[in-house]
């Protein structure tokens, strides 16, 4: 049998993998894109918000053809207690132009489309196939062993985009330790169907326009995480996530957490009459910069969730993955030009990431994951205090406002002494400045 040799093999047809495959195929490289699901997206889950800029860097005209659910016109932040919320938000009526900033997608549909773009550019998609091992040749990664009979494939470079808890990162020697429970969140969500016009009415937007709501505070029952409600065309993505370390400690089940969120008195009316169409769960790599694996080795690069490229605070992940996938692809294209796939040659991948927002943002928040793990109580205390203060100020009961301020201050310091308020604020500022 003749040996199957390609310029590059990409493992995993999510946002990172399809971006890498698209970039390399477009530059004329022979590329194989391997996906373990029966179709790209079959295994992939996220909250549902994607960003346009990084996709437009690859496919400038995506807005006309990608399966976009709704373009986000309003983002709301709910700071919740069990029966109230302080609500912040931003809404724009400005036309979003050709490249919408943010939009919702359903990943089973989107990933299929995105992988088809890589195929159209010339990449060869092999679905329903698991990569079980990497093949080492001449001291470098030189191919993959798939679960298929005679399933060895060879390439000059292998790009690992196999998602959170990447088995291949370990096999490649890029990940040398076990990932800790506080470095991964577990999120569950439901797709709840509702007629489009009812969604538009309830969320006060027009056709094709959507809203995001992130819910902090009581809804995560003193675990580090948040809930979300995102509008799709004829459904809502409703979910909640928290650190696995906190799930282990509290013994709250993910489904209980989600049911509680859905039954929150402020959430319930938004979902009323909807039918649950699908239930989904996935781990999210939240360890940030300090938990990242090595990003390249001899003949191998890693991108996306597999490389911990998630900015949890800003709800970003797929955009980091697409950018990293593109940069990995460009690195391999360049390496092909000089026919050198050694780690030294591929080192420019890290440099490219460092110059981009990907590593700049992950570095900026490198201490945040540890902070969230250690101080879940802040997500109970502060939402409670903020709600209490605002509720008091808005309650018109004849008490003079100065007395109200005193009453609020007393109630706040009774629950959190002044020195703690100051140290909390200082710590929080330090991890997000």
């Amino acid at each position: 049998m003749t040996e199957e040799k390609f310029d590059a093999i990409v493992v995993g047809a999510g946002p990172a993998g399809s971006a890498a495959a698209y970039t390399m195929a477009k530059a004329g490289l022979s590329v194989v894109l391997i996906e373990r699901g029966e179709y790209p997206g079959a295994k992939n889950v996220m909250g549902g918000v994607m960003y346009g800029r990084m996709l437009a860097d690859l496919i400038p005209t995506f807005a006309a053809e990608a399966p976009i659910e709704r373009v986000i016109m309003e983002e709301r932040l709910w700071i919740t207690t069990d029966d109230s919320a302080v609500i912040l938000g931003h809404k724009t009526a400005a036309p979003h132009g050709e490249v919408p900033n943010a939009f919702t997608v359903l990943r089973a549909k989107f990933d299929r489309w995105f992988a088809s773009k890589a195929e159209q550019a010339g990449a060869f998609l092999i679905p329903a196939t698991v990569v079980e091992d990497l093949i080492m040749r001449d001291g470098k990664v030189g191919g993959v062993r798939t679960g298929r009979p005679d399933g060895d494939l060879y390439a000059d470079a292998v790009v690992l985009c196999d998602g959170v808890h990447s088995f291949l990162a370990k096999k490649a020697g890029l990940q040398t330790r076990e990932i800790a429970p506080h470095e991964v969140a577990l999120a569950v969500k439901e797709i709840i169907t509702l007629p489009p016009d009812l969604i538009q009415e309830r969320f006060n937007v027009g056709e094709g326009e959507g809203v995001t709501i992130e819910l902090y505070g009581a809804v995560t029952q003193e675990m580090g995480g948040y809930g979300f409600i995102y509008t799709n065309r004829d459904s809502l993505s409703v979910g909640v996530g928290a650190l696995i370390s906190h799930f282990m400690r509290t013994k709250v089940t993910p489904n209980e957490l989600l049911e509680r969120l859905k039954q929150h008195p402020l959430v319930q009316p938004l979902l009323a009459g909807g039918q649950v169409a699908e239930y989904l769960a996935h781990a999210i790599p939240e360890g940030g910069y300090r938990a990242m694996p090595r990003l390249y080795g001899h003949g191998v690069l890693i991108a996306g969730d597999a490389a911990m490229m998630v900015n949890g605070l800003h709800r970003e992940g797929s955009n980091l993955a697409m950018t990293a996938g593109r940069l990995a692809g460009e690195t391999v294209v360049e390496a092909k030009g000089r026919n050198d796939f050694s780690a030294t040659s591929l080192a420019s991948y890290r440099r490219r990431l460092e110059e981009s927002f990907v590593l700049k943002d992950l570095k900026k928040y490198q201490h945040l994951p540890e902070f969230v793990d250690r101080h879940p109580e802040l997500l109970r205390i502060y939402p409670g205090l903020v709600n209490l203060a605002i509720h008091e100020m808005l309650t018109v009961d004849g008490m003079p406002k100065r007395d109200k301020q005193r009453k609020i201050w007393k109630a706040v310091t009774a629950r959190r002494p002044l020195w703690r308020l100051i140290t909390d604020a200082y710590r929080a500022w330090k991890v997000i400045r």
Partner: protein, 94 residues
């Protein structure tokens, strides 16, 4: 809504062989029970893991491949592998 009803909504392509096994049953019955209270029986979003009084059973056919048990088992005692190509959960929306 009960979890069982939600899992019933999902499409799976079922394999005959399990992709999950427990490495050492003693750990679940002793060290983990004492120190951690067998967290896999609560954090698993698809209720794959249950304690039957003697050992942890793994209903692998429920698994939605979230991979949480890879870090969530305090003893790395769950041998979780990727289902064979094309098998397992198949999300229609995602």
């Amino acid at each position: 809504m009960k979890l069982e009803e939600k899992l019933y909504l999902l499409s799976y392509k079922h394999d005959k062989q399990s992709h999950i096994s427990i490495r050492d049953n003693d750990i679940c019955g002793t060290a983990c029970a004492k120190t951690w209270g067998r967290p896999c029986t609560t954090f698993c979003p698809a209720n794959v893991y249950a304690w039957d009084g003697e050992k942890i059973t793994a209903s692998f056919e429920n698994c939605v491949e979230c991979t949480s048990c890879l870090t969530g088992c305090p003893y790395h005692n769950i041998d979780w592998r990727l289902p064979r190509g094309g098998y397992g959960v198949q999300y229609r929306n995602g």
